[in-house]
Symmetry: C2
Protein backbone atom coordinates (compact mmCIF):
# COMPACT_ATOMS: atom_id res chain seq x y z
CA UNK A 1 0.00 0.00 0.00
CA UNK A 2 1.38 3.42 -0.91
CA UNK A 3 0.35 6.07 1.56
CA UNK A 4 -0.24 9.66 0.50
CA UNK A 5 1.67 10.89 3.55
CA UNK A 6 4.75 9.77 5.47
CA UNK A 7 3.06 10.82 8.73
CA UNK A 8 0.12 8.53 8.03
CA UNK A 9 2.45 5.74 7.01
CA UNK A 10 4.40 6.05 10.29
CA UNK A 11 1.22 6.06 12.35
CA UNK A 12 -0.15 3.05 10.47
CA UNK A 13 3.12 1.17 11.00
CA UNK A 14 3.09 1.89 14.73
CA UNK A 15 -0.57 0.94 15.17
CA UNK A 16 -0.15 -2.27 13.17
CA UNK A 17 2.55 -3.43 15.63
CA UNK A 18 -0.28 -4.10 18.08
CA UNK A 19 -1.39 -7.74 18.21
CA UNK A 20 -4.28 -8.66 15.92
CA UNK A 21 -4.19 -5.35 14.02
CA UNK A 22 -3.11 -5.47 10.38
CA UNK A 23 -2.30 -2.62 8.01
CA UNK A 24 -5.86 -2.23 6.76
CA UNK A 25 -7.36 -2.00 10.26
CA UNK A 26 -4.55 0.34 11.34
CA UNK A 27 -5.33 2.64 8.41
CA UNK A 28 -9.03 2.61 9.31
CA UNK A 29 -8.19 3.60 12.91
CA UNK A 30 -5.77 6.33 11.83
CA UNK A 31 -8.26 7.83 9.35
CA UNK A 32 -10.89 7.70 12.10
CA UNK A 33 -8.63 9.78 14.37
CA UNK A 34 -8.12 12.29 11.53
CA UNK A 35 -11.88 12.80 11.35
CA UNK A 36 -12.22 13.38 15.09
CA UNK A 37 -11.04 16.32 17.20
CA UNK A 38 -7.32 16.68 17.75
CA UNK A 39 -8.02 16.41 21.51
CA UNK A 40 -9.15 12.81 21.14
CA UNK A 41 -5.81 11.76 19.65
CA UNK A 42 -4.02 13.82 22.28
CA UNK A 43 -5.82 12.19 25.19
CA UNK A 44 -5.44 8.71 23.68
CA UNK A 45 -1.68 9.27 23.36
CA UNK A 46 -1.37 10.78 26.83
CA UNK A 47 -3.31 8.02 28.55
CA UNK A 48 -1.13 5.36 26.88
CA UNK A 49 2.12 7.06 27.83
CA UNK A 50 0.93 7.76 31.40
CA UNK A 51 -0.24 4.17 31.77
CA UNK A 52 3.00 2.71 30.43
CA UNK A 53 5.30 4.89 32.51
CA UNK A 54 3.35 5.00 35.79
CA UNK A 55 1.67 1.63 36.30
CA UNK A 56 3.47 -0.38 38.96
CA UNK A 57 3.30 -3.93 40.19
CA UNK A 58 1.92 -4.50 43.69
CA UNK A 59 4.88 -5.38 45.93
CA UNK A 60 2.89 -8.13 47.60
CA UNK A 61 0.94 -9.95 44.86
CA UNK A 62 2.58 -8.47 41.69
CA UNK A 63 -0.79 -7.50 40.26
CA UNK A 64 -0.80 -4.27 38.20
CA UNK A 65 -1.51 -1.31 40.43
CA UNK A 66 -1.33 2.49 40.66
CA UNK A 67 0.27 2.27 44.11
CA UNK A 68 2.89 0.19 45.92
CA UNK A 69 0.14 -2.01 47.26
CA UNK A 70 -2.78 -2.93 44.98
CA UNK A 71 -6.39 -2.27 45.99
CA UNK A 72 -6.99 -5.95 46.75
CA UNK A 73 -3.92 -6.34 48.98
CA UNK A 74 -4.75 -3.03 50.70
CA UNK A 75 -8.41 -3.91 51.29
CA UNK A 76 -9.62 -4.95 54.74
CA UNK A 77 -12.68 -6.69 53.32
CA UNK A 78 -10.80 -9.56 51.65
CA UNK A 79 -10.23 -12.98 53.17
CA UNK A 80 -6.49 -13.03 53.93
CA UNK A 81 -6.43 -16.76 54.57
CA UNK A 82 -6.76 -17.57 50.85
CA UNK A 83 -4.22 -16.95 48.09
CA UNK A 84 -5.24 -17.61 44.50
CA UNK A 85 -2.22 -18.10 42.22
CA UNK A 86 -2.76 -16.92 38.62
CA UNK A 87 -0.69 -16.39 35.51
CA UNK A 88 -1.41 -12.71 34.84
CA UNK A 89 -3.60 -9.69 35.53
CA UNK A 90 -6.25 -10.75 33.05
CA UNK A 91 -6.90 -13.85 35.13
CA UNK A 92 -7.37 -11.67 38.21
CA UNK A 93 -9.93 -9.60 36.28
CA UNK A 94 -11.70 -12.75 35.05
CA UNK A 95 -11.95 -14.20 38.57
CA UNK A 96 -13.00 -10.85 40.07
CA UNK A 97 -15.77 -10.65 37.47
CA UNK A 98 -17.26 -13.92 38.76
CA UNK A 99 -17.80 -12.24 42.19
CA UNK A 100 -17.32 -15.71 43.72
CA UNK A 101 -13.90 -15.18 45.28
CA UNK A 102 -13.07 -12.86 48.16
CA UNK A 103 -9.50 -13.90 48.97
CA UNK A 104 -6.10 -12.55 47.90
CA UNK A 105 -4.11 -13.16 44.72
CA UNK A 106 -0.58 -13.91 43.65
CA UNK A 107 0.31 -13.08 40.04
CA UNK A 108 3.13 -15.25 38.68
CA UNK A 109 3.73 -13.03 35.66
CA UNK A 110 3.82 -16.00 33.30
CA UNK A 111 3.85 -19.75 33.20
CA UNK A 112 6.66 -22.34 33.03
CA UNK A 113 7.27 -22.96 29.34
CA UNK A 114 10.51 -24.65 28.22
CA UNK A 115 9.57 -23.97 24.58
CA UNK A 116 9.49 -20.21 25.19
CA UNK A 117 12.44 -20.37 27.58
CA UNK A 118 10.45 -19.42 30.67
CA UNK A 119 11.71 -21.22 33.78
CA UNK A 120 10.61 -21.04 37.43
CA UNK A 121 13.19 -18.34 38.17
CA UNK A 122 11.49 -16.00 35.65
CA UNK A 123 8.25 -16.11 37.63
CA UNK A 124 7.25 -14.60 40.97
CA UNK A 125 7.51 -17.94 42.76
CA UNK A 126 10.09 -17.03 45.41
CA UNK A 127 7.92 -14.15 46.61
CA UNK A 128 4.99 -16.57 46.94
CA UNK A 129 7.16 -18.83 49.10
CA UNK A 130 8.13 -15.73 51.11
CA UNK A 131 4.49 -14.88 51.67
CA UNK A 132 3.93 -18.33 53.14
CA UNK A 133 7.14 -18.27 55.17
CA UNK A 134 6.48 -14.81 56.58
CA UNK A 135 2.72 -14.27 56.37
CA UNK A 136 2.97 -10.74 57.89
CA UNK A 137 -0.13 -11.25 60.05
CA UNK A 138 -2.18 -13.09 57.40
CA UNK A 139 -3.13 -16.56 58.66
CA UNK A 140 -2.86 -18.30 55.28
CA UNK A 141 -4.88 -21.53 55.18
CA UNK A 142 -5.13 -22.36 51.49
CA UNK A 143 -3.35 -21.73 48.21
CA UNK A 144 -5.60 -22.15 45.17
CA UNK A 145 -3.81 -22.77 41.88
CA UNK A 146 -5.92 -21.18 39.13
CA UNK A 147 -3.73 -21.93 36.11
CA UNK A 148 -4.75 -22.72 32.56
CA UNK A 149 -5.63 -26.39 31.95
CA UNK A 150 -2.76 -26.77 29.47
CA UNK A 151 0.55 -28.60 29.47
CA UNK A 152 2.35 -25.45 30.69
CA UNK A 153 -0.28 -24.77 33.34
CA UNK A 154 -0.07 -28.33 34.62
CA UNK A 155 3.74 -28.19 34.70
CA UNK A 156 3.65 -24.95 36.69
CA UNK A 157 1.02 -26.36 39.07
CA UNK A 158 3.13 -29.49 39.62
CA UNK A 159 6.22 -27.38 40.33
CA UNK A 160 4.32 -25.17 42.78
CA UNK A 161 2.81 -28.16 44.60
CA UNK A 162 6.27 -29.62 45.24
CA UNK A 163 7.63 -26.22 46.28
CA UNK A 164 4.77 -25.43 48.67
CA UNK A 165 4.09 -28.80 50.25
CA UNK A 166 6.51 -28.10 53.14
CA UNK A 167 4.17 -25.40 54.42
CA UNK A 168 1.16 -26.28 56.58
CA UNK A 169 -1.38 -24.97 54.05
CA UNK A 170 -3.96 -26.73 51.93
CA UNK A 171 -3.14 -26.63 48.19
CA UNK A 172 -6.01 -26.90 45.73
CA UNK A 173 -6.69 -26.34 42.06
CA UNK A 174 -9.78 -25.00 40.33
CA UNK A 175 -12.20 -27.73 39.16
CA UNK A 176 -11.92 -29.06 35.64
CA UNK A 177 -14.91 -30.51 33.87
CA UNK A 178 -17.57 -29.81 31.27
CA UNK A 179 -18.30 -26.09 30.96
CA UNK A 180 -21.71 -25.01 32.23
CA UNK A 181 -24.14 -24.45 29.35
CA UNK A 182 -22.09 -26.66 27.04
CA UNK A 183 -23.55 -29.66 25.27
CA UNK A 184 -22.11 -32.98 26.52
CA UNK A 185 -21.74 -34.42 23.03
CA UNK A 186 -19.54 -31.49 21.98
CA UNK A 187 -17.22 -31.67 25.02
CA UNK A 188 -13.78 -32.94 24.00
CA UNK A 189 -12.93 -36.46 25.18
CA UNK A 190 -10.10 -35.43 27.53
CA UNK A 191 -12.32 -32.98 29.41
CA UNK A 192 -15.24 -35.41 29.50
CA UNK A 193 -12.98 -38.25 30.68
CA UNK A 194 -11.54 -36.07 33.44
CA UNK A 195 -14.99 -34.90 34.49
CA UNK A 196 -16.04 -38.55 35.02
CA UNK A 197 -12.89 -39.33 37.01
CA UNK A 198 -13.31 -36.22 39.18
CA UNK A 199 -17.05 -36.73 39.63
CA UNK A 200 -18.68 -34.97 42.59
CA UNK A 201 -20.98 -36.99 44.85
CA UNK A 202 -24.26 -35.49 46.02
CA UNK A 203 -24.03 -35.10 49.75
CA UNK B 1 -15.03 -4.93 34.47
CA UNK B 2 -13.18 -3.58 37.50
CA UNK B 3 -9.65 -2.59 36.67
CA UNK B 4 -6.82 -2.91 39.16
CA UNK B 5 -5.53 0.51 38.20
CA UNK B 6 -7.08 3.84 37.26
CA UNK B 7 -4.30 4.39 34.70
CA UNK B 8 -5.16 1.14 32.94
CA UNK B 9 -8.85 1.97 33.10
CA UNK B 10 -8.25 5.37 31.48
CA UNK B 11 -6.09 3.83 28.73
CA UNK B 12 -8.66 1.09 28.07
CA UNK B 13 -11.44 3.70 27.86
CA UNK B 14 -9.48 5.79 25.38
CA UNK B 15 -8.51 2.83 23.20
CA UNK B 16 -12.05 1.46 23.19
CA UNK B 17 -13.28 4.75 21.66
CA UNK B 18 -11.71 3.58 18.39
CA UNK B 19 -14.17 1.99 15.96
CA UNK B 20 -14.50 -1.79 16.20
CA UNK B 21 -12.50 -2.04 19.43
CA UNK B 22 -14.40 -3.10 22.53
CA UNK B 23 -13.29 -3.12 26.17
CA UNK B 24 -11.84 -6.63 26.02
CA UNK B 25 -9.74 -5.96 22.93
CA UNK B 26 -8.65 -2.61 24.37
CA UNK B 27 -7.48 -4.34 27.56
CA UNK B 28 -5.56 -6.90 25.51
CA UNK B 29 -3.80 -4.12 23.57
CA UNK B 30 -3.00 -2.15 26.74
CA UNK B 31 -1.59 -5.20 28.53
CA UNK B 32 0.45 -5.94 25.40
CA UNK B 33 2.00 -2.45 25.59
CA UNK B 34 2.82 -3.04 29.27
CA UNK B 35 4.80 -6.12 28.32
CA UNK B 36 6.80 -4.30 25.65
CA UNK B 37 9.47 -1.61 26.02
CA UNK B 38 8.34 1.81 27.14
CA UNK B 39 9.79 3.19 23.87
CA UNK B 40 7.19 1.32 21.83
CA UNK B 41 4.32 3.07 23.64
CA UNK B 42 6.18 6.36 23.36
CA UNK B 43 6.69 6.09 19.60
CA UNK B 44 3.11 4.91 19.06
CA UNK B 45 1.81 7.93 20.97
CA UNK B 46 4.20 10.35 19.23
CA UNK B 47 3.38 9.10 15.74
CA UNK B 48 -0.35 9.46 16.39
CA UNK B 49 -0.03 12.99 17.76
CA UNK B 50 2.36 14.04 14.96
CA UNK B 51 0.07 12.55 12.34
CA UNK B 52 -3.05 14.21 13.78
CA UNK B 53 -1.49 17.64 14.19
CA UNK B 54 0.62 17.80 11.03
CA UNK B 55 -1.25 16.02 8.24
CA UNK B 56 -2.72 18.53 5.79
CA UNK B 57 -5.15 18.33 2.93
CA UNK B 58 -3.77 18.96 -0.56
CA UNK B 59 -4.96 22.41 -1.62
CA UNK B 60 -5.77 21.14 -5.11
CA UNK B 61 -7.39 17.71 -4.69
CA UNK B 62 -8.03 17.64 -0.89
CA UNK B 63 -6.26 14.31 -0.54
CA UNK B 64 -4.34 13.83 2.73
CA UNK B 65 -0.79 15.04 2.35
CA UNK B 66 2.33 16.08 4.26
CA UNK B 67 2.69 19.18 2.11
CA UNK B 68 0.48 21.87 0.61
CA UNK B 69 0.37 19.91 -2.63
CA UNK B 70 0.07 16.12 -2.46
CA UNK B 71 2.56 13.86 -4.22
CA UNK B 72 0.05 13.04 -6.98
CA UNK B 73 -0.82 16.68 -7.73
CA UNK B 74 2.90 17.58 -7.59
CA UNK B 75 3.98 14.74 -9.89
CA UNK B 76 4.89 15.40 -13.53
CA UNK B 77 4.28 11.80 -14.50
CA UNK B 78 0.51 11.85 -14.05
CA UNK B 79 -2.01 12.47 -16.80
CA UNK B 80 -3.40 15.93 -16.01
CA UNK B 81 -6.28 15.59 -18.47
CA UNK B 82 -8.14 13.15 -16.18
CA UNK B 83 -9.73 13.85 -12.80
CA UNK B 84 -11.11 10.94 -10.81
CA UNK B 85 -13.67 12.08 -8.21
CA UNK B 86 -13.77 9.93 -5.05
CA UNK B 87 -15.36 10.06 -1.62
CA UNK B 88 -12.25 9.84 0.58
CA UNK B 89 -8.54 9.00 0.84
CA UNK B 90 -9.15 5.29 1.19
CA UNK B 91 -10.69 5.27 -2.29
CA UNK B 92 -7.55 6.98 -3.66
CA UNK B 93 -5.43 4.25 -2.05
CA UNK B 94 -7.69 1.52 -3.44
CA UNK B 95 -7.50 2.94 -6.99
CA UNK B 96 -3.74 3.55 -6.74
CA UNK B 97 -3.30 -0.09 -5.70
CA UNK B 98 -4.89 -1.25 -8.97
CA UNK B 99 -2.01 0.48 -10.88
CA UNK B 100 -4.53 1.02 -13.70
CA UNK B 101 -5.04 4.76 -13.34
CA UNK B 102 -2.46 7.47 -14.00
CA UNK B 103 -4.61 10.60 -13.83
CA UNK B 104 -5.35 13.09 -11.03
CA UNK B 105 -7.89 12.88 -8.19
CA UNK B 106 -10.42 15.03 -6.45
CA UNK B 107 -11.43 13.96 -2.94
CA UNK B 108 -14.94 15.11 -2.02
CA UNK B 109 -14.47 14.41 1.69
CA UNK B 110 -17.80 12.62 1.94
CA UNK B 111 -20.94 11.86 0.03
CA UNK B 112 -24.37 13.52 -0.17
CA UNK B 113 -26.48 11.90 2.53
CA UNK B 114 -29.68 13.62 3.68
CA UNK B 115 -30.03 11.02 6.48
CA UNK B 116 -26.69 12.05 7.98
CA UNK B 117 -27.25 15.70 7.19
CA UNK B 118 -24.48 15.92 4.59
CA UNK B 119 -25.40 18.29 1.75
CA UNK B 120 -23.45 19.39 -1.36
CA UNK B 121 -22.08 22.43 0.50
CA UNK B 122 -20.34 20.16 3.03
CA UNK B 123 -18.29 18.56 0.25
CA UNK B 124 -15.39 19.85 -1.86
CA UNK B 125 -17.62 20.35 -4.90
CA UNK B 126 -17.05 24.08 -5.45
CA UNK B 127 -13.30 23.52 -5.65
CA UNK B 128 -13.89 20.82 -8.29
CA UNK B 129 -15.92 23.32 -10.32
CA UNK B 130 -13.09 25.83 -9.84
CA UNK B 131 -10.58 23.29 -11.17
CA UNK B 132 -12.67 22.98 -14.35
CA UNK B 133 -13.29 26.70 -14.64
CA UNK B 134 -9.64 27.62 -14.11
CA UNK B 135 -7.61 24.55 -15.07
CA UNK B 136 -4.27 26.26 -14.29
CA UNK B 137 -2.56 24.80 -17.33
CA UNK B 138 -4.12 21.33 -17.08
CA UNK B 139 -6.11 20.54 -20.24
CA UNK B 140 -8.86 18.58 -18.48
CA UNK B 141 -10.67 16.24 -20.87
CA UNK B 142 -12.57 13.89 -18.62
CA UNK B 143 -14.00 13.68 -15.10
CA UNK B 144 -14.47 10.10 -13.87
CA UNK B 145 -16.95 9.66 -11.04
CA UNK B 146 -15.70 6.78 -8.88
CA UNK B 147 -18.36 6.79 -6.18
CA UNK B 148 -19.84 3.86 -4.28
CA UNK B 149 -22.69 2.11 -6.11
CA UNK B 150 -25.15 3.02 -3.34
CA UNK B 151 -28.12 5.36 -3.07
CA UNK B 152 -25.87 8.12 -1.66
CA UNK B 153 -23.20 7.54 -4.28
CA UNK B 154 -25.76 7.70 -7.09
CA UNK B 155 -27.29 10.87 -5.64
CA UNK B 156 -23.87 12.52 -5.46
CA UNK B 157 -23.02 11.37 -9.00
CA UNK B 158 -26.33 12.77 -10.29
CA UNK B 159 -25.70 16.12 -8.56
CA UNK B 160 -22.16 16.32 -9.95
CA UNK B 161 -23.31 15.48 -13.48
CA UNK B 162 -25.79 18.36 -13.44
CA UNK B 163 -23.23 20.71 -11.95
CA UNK B 164 -20.45 19.83 -14.40
CA UNK B 165 -22.37 19.45 -17.65
CA UNK B 166 -21.84 23.14 -18.58
CA UNK B 167 -18.10 22.46 -18.98
CA UNK B 168 -16.73 21.00 -22.23
CA UNK B 169 -15.45 17.81 -20.56
CA UNK B 170 -16.53 14.21 -20.80
CA UNK B 171 -18.13 12.88 -17.63
CA UNK B 172 -17.98 9.14 -16.99
CA UNK B 173 -18.53 6.71 -14.15
CA UNK B 174 -16.69 3.50 -13.27
CA UNK B 175 -18.29 0.38 -14.76
CA UNK B 176 -20.78 -1.59 -12.70
CA UNK B 177 -21.28 -5.26 -13.28
CA UNK B 178 -20.48 -8.70 -11.95
CA UNK B 179 -17.20 -8.73 -9.97
CA UNK B 180 -14.35 -10.61 -11.64
CA UNK B 181 -13.85 -14.05 -10.08
CA UNK B 182 -17.42 -14.06 -8.76
CA UNK B 183 -19.85 -16.82 -9.57
CA UNK B 184 -22.76 -15.61 -11.75
CA UNK B 185 -25.37 -17.51 -9.75
CA UNK B 186 -24.30 -15.70 -6.56
CA UNK B 187 -24.38 -12.20 -8.08
CA UNK B 188 -27.32 -10.20 -6.71
CA UNK B 189 -30.15 -9.58 -9.14
CA UNK B 190 -29.73 -5.78 -9.31
CA UNK B 191 -26.04 -6.08 -10.25
CA UNK B 192 -26.72 -8.88 -12.73
CA UNK B 193 -29.63 -6.96 -14.28
CA UNK B 194 -27.48 -3.84 -14.67
CA UNK B 195 -24.63 -5.87 -16.15
CA UNK B 196 -26.96 -7.15 -18.87
CA UNK B 197 -28.28 -3.66 -19.64
CA UNK B 198 -24.74 -2.19 -19.78
CA UNK B 199 -23.35 -5.10 -21.79
CA UNK B 200 -20.12 -4.46 -23.71
CA UNK B 201 -19.95 -5.52 -27.36
CA UNK B 202 -16.85 -7.29 -28.67
CA UNK B 203 -15.27 -5.02 -31.21
Amino acid sequence: MEFPSKLIEDAVNEVSKLPGIGKKTALRLVLHLLKRDEEQTQSLAESLVAMRSKVKHCRKCHNLSDNDLCSICASHKRDRSLICVVEDTRDVLAIENTAQYKGMYHVLGGIISPVEGVGPSDLHIESLVDRLRDPDGDAIKEVILALSPTMEGDTTAFYLQKKLKTFPVKISTIARGVPIGGDLEYADEVTLGRSILSRISYE
